[in-house]
Each structure stands twice: as C-alpha cells, then as structure tokens.
Symmetry: C2
Subunit: 302 residues, 2 copies
C-alpha cells in the first residue's frame, strides 16, 4: 500500500518506519529530519530492538509525493492551519486519510475540506521522543485504536488495522472513534498538561500523592464529559481511570510531548486537547472545572 | 517604645525602618543583612521618598536584644519551627507580640507557647522586595490592619496602630482579626500561588482573561471559606473581590514574594497560605476545589 506520512515528528517517523520495514511503500513529508535522512537514512532506537532504514523516500513538498492510497497525519495540532494544504496533493479519488493527531477537532477539519467519507481517526498510546535529526526513540507502548469518522466498523478500517499489526504495531479497529478519542483525552488532559505546567515526568507526578489525587480527579471530570457525548457504550469511570493510572505507573519515567514542547519553547496543543473538549462537554451540559483551570494555567504561560 | 523585629526580610526591614525614623527604639534580629547594615546602615528606596538610617541596632542573636515592649514578627512562615525560640528572649512580663506574617496559624503557634493574651496579629498590604544586602525596596502600598488574637478592640491595639500611623504607615486597629486574615488570604491565595506557578507578575496575570477569571473564582472560593468562619460580619463576596481586583490593577507590575521564593529556589509558604485555610474551610463545611488544586500544583513543585 502506498502511504504518505504528513507530519514526521516522533509519531510519524516511528509508525512510518515500522510500516516500511514490514514492506509497505512509505513516503515521508519531512522538515527537520530531511537532510539527515537523505544522507544516512532513518535510525529507530526502540525498546523492541533498534533498526535502520537506509533507503527512505522523503520529500520537502507534498506535491512531490503525489496521490497515495492512505495519508497518515501526525502533524502537531498547533500547525493545523497548514493541514489541508499539506494533505491535498496526496489525494486520489479513493485516498483515505487517517489522522493520529492528539485531541479533538482534527477529523472535523479534514472532513470539511475533503469529505467525511475519506476520514478515519486513531488514537495512539505511544511513548516516543525525537532524537538527533534522522533518529527516533521508541520508549514503549504503541497501541493504536482506529476507526471511521462516520462510525461503524468498515472493511477499510479493519484492513488498516491489519497492516499495522503485520508491521508489529498492536492495532484495533473500533466502531466508536469518538469514545476512543475521549478515552485518550482521559490520559492526555491530566498528564500532558500537568507535566508541561510543573515540568515533572509522569512518574514524578504519580509519586507525589497530591498530584496523583489531582490526576484522578481530572480523569473523572473528562470521563463525565465523555459520557455526556453520544457514545455507543458509556465509559466505566472508576474502572477506566484506575486502569489508566496503573498503566502509567508501569511505564518507565516518561516526558509527554507537551512537557517537551513547553521546555523547548514551542506552542502547546491546547486547542485540540483542552479548548474543544471543554466546549463539547459544556455543550452536553457537563462542567469540567479542574480541566478548565488547568487550561487557564497552561494558556497563561503561552 | 522598645520594639524588637524578628524576621528582617523586606517587610520587617521596611516597617522597622519607618518606625525608627519616627523615633521608636528599634532592634532588628538580622541574618542576611547583618554585615551590610553594620557597615553602612540601612537604605530604604521607597515610592514615598528614599531615606537612610546610619545607626541601626542589629543583632545576630535574640538574646542580645533582651526584653522589649513589643515584638514584631516578620519571619517567613516556612521558618516557623524556629519562631518561638527566636521570640522567647525578647519577652518581659508585659511584652506584646504582633505577628505580621502571612496566612493562618501564626497567632495560634505563638499563643500556645506564650499565652493568648500576649498575641496580636496584623495583615500588611505591602509591596516590598529585598534588594542588595542593607537595602529594601518599597514599591507601593503598606497599610496594616491589626487586632487582638482574643478579639475586640483593645487600648493596646489602638496604641500600636497610632505608633504606625505616626511613622507614616496607614494602620487601623480592627476588632475581628480573623476576618482581616481571611480578607488578606483572598488576595494571597490567587496572586501568590499563580505568580509562583506560572512566573508572571500580578499585572501579567490580570492582563490575560483566562487567568483573571481564575483569580476571581479563587477569590470567591476563599470568601465562601471565610464566611463559614465565626466572623463578626460577613464579607460581601462580589464587592470585596471586585475591590481587590481593582486595587491590584492599579498597582505597578508587582512580583509577589512567593513568585520570588520559587524563582530563587526557596520553599514556599504553603502551610500558612493554603493547607491551614483549606483545613479550616473544610472543618466549617466548605470545599475550595480550585484552591486545593492550586495547592496541589504548588506542592508538586517543591
């Protein structure tokens, strides 16, 4: 399958490399890593074993990639103003677009520009960081839940899940993408925001009883916002929040991307991870006061 | 009046200097500024006019001060474990103790050690910062509300207020010290904590609509905590919070002491300004969820 990767940050590089290693025909749109990858290929340092791709099809302009079967979007959402112009040159008549970006609003943006039927979304539970140009570090996890923006389990989403699985990436096609997005928010909202605000990794946050308590309260607010949406099945608040906390306690100390974005002076993904979820919860009659406070505090530092 | 100053930080130095200039007999317990003041006296750089005291009675040990008429306490509350041992050598049979420290719990600590009848408390709306050793910067404001720990308007508290007034410090004796303490908390809890957390001065916080809204919500929580206490008269939440915000908007950009403490790696006054007020509000049946969240975030950074 010919796949274009738009947004070759840590996530795009890692999944793209895994897919290419399994035999897929991968084309990366690159900015920061372009020169390094042209010269020496792409190095993946992974907890599951390092590998090196010496021949990597990388491009400076999406026009040079041309039409593909599937576009995978890994762009940071704070660059979403460029998203549609970057994706457009890759579209053939039947091209599908899978966005693995964080938060809410990304499928809607793509659907508005290119039609709802093209769009799939996915959430990635992935711990990666960018390394030196031409390298990516995979620190753990990596599972993807993906589904149709229009809902339901399609042949297309099952096929994509299979392609990821064959590449060694745990992947599940789900019928309720909205639920998957909110489940991921229950992790992103506390861990990304708190780590950016107080510059502690996830282990540091969980080791301090007051911030662990706060993480739990934030998760419960997000899940109550989720359960006010039209989900196929409600999220079990207590069970799911405890699962997320246990999952994170089993991780090695990890610095979420938002912590690194703040540290390195980049903007934060506040719109997708905070503003739109708060808006959607409110529209469904649910207040998330602690989430709002966290959003205020993060936005004050921008 | 012979007055001993315990805790010669910005507040202790400024009020001590003003009192000495007006003719009171002032004795400073000093640490950081001792050598500089011994050599070149104390320089006050004030919006109301600079002045210099060439002869300053300063001491390294409270034993060398001996009994005084009044002890004024300006110690940072995170050093309260040393408070009683520092005050004890200054006590004669009738010595009064006035604590101008931040937050709650200071009068109680002194009362437990030395008897309730000795204790007065005061809240200072004062913008000062320490400068180079031997100097203090008075950036604005300075009003004190003081009162008896046991309540009521005593001759002693009126007398003390008069002494401050004669020294050019606006000062009012109040019958309800508890109310004055909570009024001050309605300022300290939002502005100290938020400025320490996101390293913005009060003007920066108020210029950003989301943090201004958060400041107002924090104030309203604190006032609801206050009004659950046995006050002589309730605080008008709406009116008082708007007054505090207007008062702060009229100030020049000011970095609260907690912001500077965090910046310079010192501990924060979290017990007096957050933990005890949260405890007292809870004991009176009032939750302050945003104040609790701010406390958690600040404590996670300690």
């Amino acid at each position: 399958m010919k796949i274009g990767i738009i947004g070759s940050g840590a996530l795009g590089l890692y999944y793209g490399a895994m897919l290419q290693k399994s035999g897929q025909d991968i084309h990366f749109l690159m900015r920061r890593d372009y020169e390094a990858v042209r010269q020496s290929g792409l190095h993946v340092y992974s907890v599951n074993g390092n590998f090196h791709l010496s021949e990597v099809a990388c491009y400076r302009s999406p026009k040079d990639i041309g039409p593909v079967d599937t576009v995978i979007v890994g762009l940071k959402t704070f660059s979403n103003q460029h998203l549609t112009e970057l994706v457009r040159p890759l579209l053939g008549t039947r091209t599908a677009i899978l966005t693995l970006q964080n938060g809410l609003g990304n499928e809607e943006l793509l659907a508005k520009a290119f039609g709802r039927e093209r769009i799939l979304g996915g959430v990635a539970f992935l711990c990666t960081n960018r390394g030196e140009p031409g390298t990516v570090q995979h620190l753990g996890e990596g599972k993807i839940h993906l589904g149709e923006f229009c809902g339901g389990l399609s042949a297309r989403s099952r096929k994509l899940a299979e392609i990821f699985q064959k590449a060694g990436v745990p992947c599940e096609a789900v019928s309720d993408l909205r639920r998957a997005r909110w489940e991921k928010l229950a992790w992103n909202i506390p861990f990304n925001g708190l780590s950016a605000l107080i510059q502690k990794d996830v282990t540091g946050l969980l080791d301090h009883p007051p911030s662990k308590r706060l993480i739990r309260m934030l998760m419960l607010e997000v899940i109550s916002g989720a359960n006010a949406q039209p989900l196929e099945q409600r999220i079990d608040a207590k069970k799911f929040s405890e699962q997320l906390i246990a999952f994170t306690e089993n991780m090695d100390p990890y610095r979420p991307s938002m912590m690194i974005d703040r540290l390195e002076g980049r903007p934060l993904e506040l719109e997708a991870i905070y503003a739109i979820p708060i808006e959607q919860a409110e529209a469904a009659g649910v207040q998330m006061p602690r989430v709002e406070m966290l959003y205020s505090l993060l936005s004050a530092g921008e």
